[in-house]
Symmetry: C2
Subunit: 397 residues, 2 copies
């Protein structure tokens, strides 16, 4: 079959190959410590499960509105309004089968071919893929190491803006770095957005995955509510990655367009799961808090061991479930310049499986530091201790 | 916000407006007879429900492979191979969140901008929308009345083919007409496909919704397996419209491309529902047969009443859950030339709500006959009798 030309511009998530390699290594009888997974090995709260099952029994198994059931749109608008300090109504919410669909739909709704789109790199690789697939120009921006976390490389970002730049993708709190913008950074970024008349995808997949302090949203900056679409997902907070439910939240004008794309792409999101999510939002939050407590404990154990390893320096992000240690010194000591050589050597010597910078967008010129990504969402504390203990021994041998 | 230019080419399902009008009329205290709904008011079989619930309890709540769980791909390949008399393997199946996603993904995978695509009109309006949205030229083909059902207007179809025609969309068995191609028609169409080197989307959403005889698939024609992608859905057979599960089935080369689109668009389909569908395919089929028996009874009641009305002539399709009566004479007698005037007059006089030809693609030149669509999937026999009784009285008054 003759495949269409646009498929040549379609990217993917190369991290799946890491999972496949880890699986193959495990199949040979080896113990694998899965730090490559951006998935949770925790159960979905019973509020969600019970709400969904009840809805099936109640016959919520037929089609529902393309934009989602009104009750969920209203509940999500109320929830996000409260946590963000803004005012959204149900008309600002369009339900999606997951967080990811918002990326492509935002781009289809707002980007013309030839438009330049700022996106984080290292970052979630689907941004780059979807921008180019739909005929845009993907313009990367970077984060640099600050005193206690990663900071936007603001000057480089501004220098890359041209009169063709129309959109900005902000992933705050960020995968893979765990980076988080300060209020000052948000304010500076909002100025930039107004100055250059940009619209913004605010990917907040990890907004609620927070252990200390309070998340603040870019959309609460003056003038940004009208220019931003939030990517919301139930996947992380409610350990619902495999259920596939999320939402796009933004100005009615673009939300209506995205709902029309829903009509074309998948009719609607699963009907009864929306009742489950509604029960999750409105019900008892103790299981949600338990998920966060578990993740926080894992973070602290992992960060402490990583920072005890010679040649590794790792921030302790207050949010997400990712660590992005700087391994420049370690790789130099090991005499390994190539990420894939380093990653495979670690896997085969220790069973510790992780992603590297290579899995988060194309490398950009002048990158000198080396980073790898550890996800602690899919591995329990005893295995974190055992796996990273082995990794430490290998690093220091 | 500045909406992208491509959104100007995006269509929708105007039938939703009919549902909204019916809802508004009901809200005023009127009885509405919902013949406009392409949805089922029947319960999902317990095999599917139990299988899905069990999978949640077993922790199938995290991500699954982008192309679907291997067990479901294998079971679906076996099921479709058996019913179609062809040989598919798991590598030919990519699971989707519904039947509809296959339409857009087929077009993105195989159509270049400027390509001409043959599609049925009257037909499912999303074909027209997705072809034009992705930059193609939508070229309609029609069905004409034969002795005991609708037949492809073959000569007109062939006359519309140019050297830019690359794809054909075939919806067999057909919504809204209930049309079904004979073996001879399939053979003739396969010749045409080979002669003009076309690839084919075979939308078989209603393949298993059959009351008498056996469905035969276009893909079993010589040479067509390599040139066709089947749109498969669990929605109708298992009364699962709101669960959102289906698949694209075709040559590995295009299935791999569609799986890569899955990675970008929604990561994967719901994990535990795939176990429910697997249980539905492999479990006891008595509830599936009961659904078909119920629908057949509704069909016979509805067809008999419609054909008893002066000025209406209606085929009795062996498949789908749609009727497409010719109401040319009736509308002339009523002095109503406009579809919307006729539809609203009927709704307000009788409570009977239906779609018309207008909801199934743009009208084409030289259409002389008038048709409306009755769906009997969402209304029980007593309401069919009562509603169509009132409709008959109004028609003949």
């Amino acid at each position: 079959m003759r495949i269409a030309n646009r498929i040549g511009r379609l990217g993917t998530e190369t991290a799946f190959a890491v999972g496949a390699e880890a699986g193959a290594f495990a199949a040979q009888g080896n113990t694998v410590y899965p730090f490559h997974l951006g998935d949770l090995n925790l159960a979905t709260p019973s509020t969600v499960v019970d709400g969904a099952f009840r809805a099936v029994t109640d016959g919520k198994t037929g089609y529902c509105p393309n934009a989602g059931i009104p009750q969920l749109r209203a509940a999500l608008a109320a929830d996000v309004s409260a946590s963000h300090g803004v005012e959204y109504g149900p008309e600002n919410v369009v339900v999606q089968p997951g967080g990811k669909p918002t990326i492509g739909k935002f781009i289809m709704a707002l980007m013309n071919p030839g438009d330049e789109v700022l996106y984080p790199n290292p970052g979630y690789p689907i941004y780059e893929s979807q921008i180019e697939f739909h005929g845009g120009v993907a313009v990367p921006y970077a984060y640099i190491e600050g005193a206690d976390g990663f900071e936007l490389d603001f000057d480089a970002m501004e220098a890359s803006i041209t009169d063709k730049t129309t959109l900005l993708i902000l992933n705050d709190l960020q995968n893979p770095m765990g980076a988080e913008s300060s209020a000052a950074e948000h304010a500076k970024l909002a100025e930039l957005v107004l100055k250059h008349d940009l619209y913004v995808l605010v990917d907040e997949a990890y907004f609620d995955m927070r252990y200390e302090g309070t998340s603040s949203s870019f959309v609460s900056q003056p003038g940004m509510l009208e220019r931003s679409v939030i990517l919301y997902t139930f996947s992380k907070k409610f350990a619902m990655t495999g259920w596939r439910l999320g939402a796009s939240i933004g100005p009615k004008k673009v939300v209506d367009v995205i709902a029309k794309i829903n009509v074309n792409d998948e009719s609607c999101s699963n009907h009864f799961i929306q009742y489950g999510a509604l029960a999750g939002l409105e019900g008892d939050q103790s299981e949600v808090r338990a998920i966060l407590n578990t993740l926080q404990e894992r973070r602290d154990v992992a960060v402490d061991i990583l920072n005890s390893i010679d040649g590794i320096a790792c921030f302790r992000p207050n949010a997400t479930f990712y660590l992005w240690p700087n391994v420049s010194e370690l790789m130099a000591t090991k005499g390994m310049d190539d990420y894939e050589v380093f990653r495979r050597a670690a896997l085969h010597a220790t069973g510790v499986s992780f992603c590297t910078r290579l899995h988060f967008g194309r490398e950009t010129p002048n990158e000198t530091n080396r980073y790898i990504r550890f996800a602690y969402s899919g591995i329990d504390v005893p295995e974190i201790q055992e796996g990273l203990g082995r990794f430490k021994d290998w690093c220091e041998s």
